[in-house]
Amino acid sequence: DAGVTQSPTHLIKTRGQQVTLRCSPKSGHDTVSWYQQALGQGPQFIFQYYEEEERQRGNFPDRFSGHQFPNYSSELNVNALLLGDSALYLCASRPGTGVIRTQYFGPGTRLLVL
């Protein structure tokens, strides 16, 4: 059973560019959350998707947007990249219903903005 997968693993962009990161949730999971982890810091919640809609959002600007597809996979888009957007971007998935709501994290996409 594959866990949470993310692509690409690494990415280098320049300031002002746009980037799209992808996530496939663990089998049987329909809720996907995205987190940003700056170097030496804990992950910070960006937003969560369920039933193809953004359900919650953290304290991130509108440059950060996302999408969830009917197969539950998700994309994170960041426009007008800033140097400060350099970070590890983590995707986490969990079942949308049921008692067990443990979130499983993928390995992340490391984004470097030059």
Binding site: G40, Q41, Q48, Y104, F105, G108
Partner: protein
């Protein structure tokens, strides 16, 4: 505003010793307190978690102690092994409301062989 404060930032322990990491939270509405372990190049993995109606939870060598009145909780790793060397994050969430996880800044643990 940092809602979960974690200490120490880094920790070195001899093999076989006890590793202790402490966390404090501010929001009394938090109802779920997980600990995550992260190895280099990997995403965080759930290690152990506790809810505020319990004062202690033990799973193998890992124990969470929870003090609701002090709004503090800690992770104890007994008989620490070199393979435990990783970054540990305490966290909190309002699981029954919105379940976004609020992480501490992490503790880099190194176990000396």
């Amino acid at each position: 505003q940092q809602q979960v404060k974690q200490s120490p930032q880094s920790l070195i322990v001899q093999k076989g010793g006890i590793s202790i990491i402490n966390c404090a939270y501010e929001n009394t509405a938090f109802d779920y307190f997980p600990w995550y372990q992260q190895f280099p190049g990997k995403g965080p993995a759930l290690l152990i978690a506790i809810r505020p109606d319990v004062s202690e939870k033990k799973e193998g060598r890992f124990t969470i102690s929870f003090n609701k009145s002090a709004k503090q909780f800690s992770l104890h790793i007994m008989d620490s092994q070199p393979g435990d060397s990783a970054t540990y994050f305490c966290a909190a969430s309002l699981e029954h409301r919105d379940d976004k996880i609020i992480f501490g800044k992490g503790t880099r643990l190194h176990i000396l062989p």
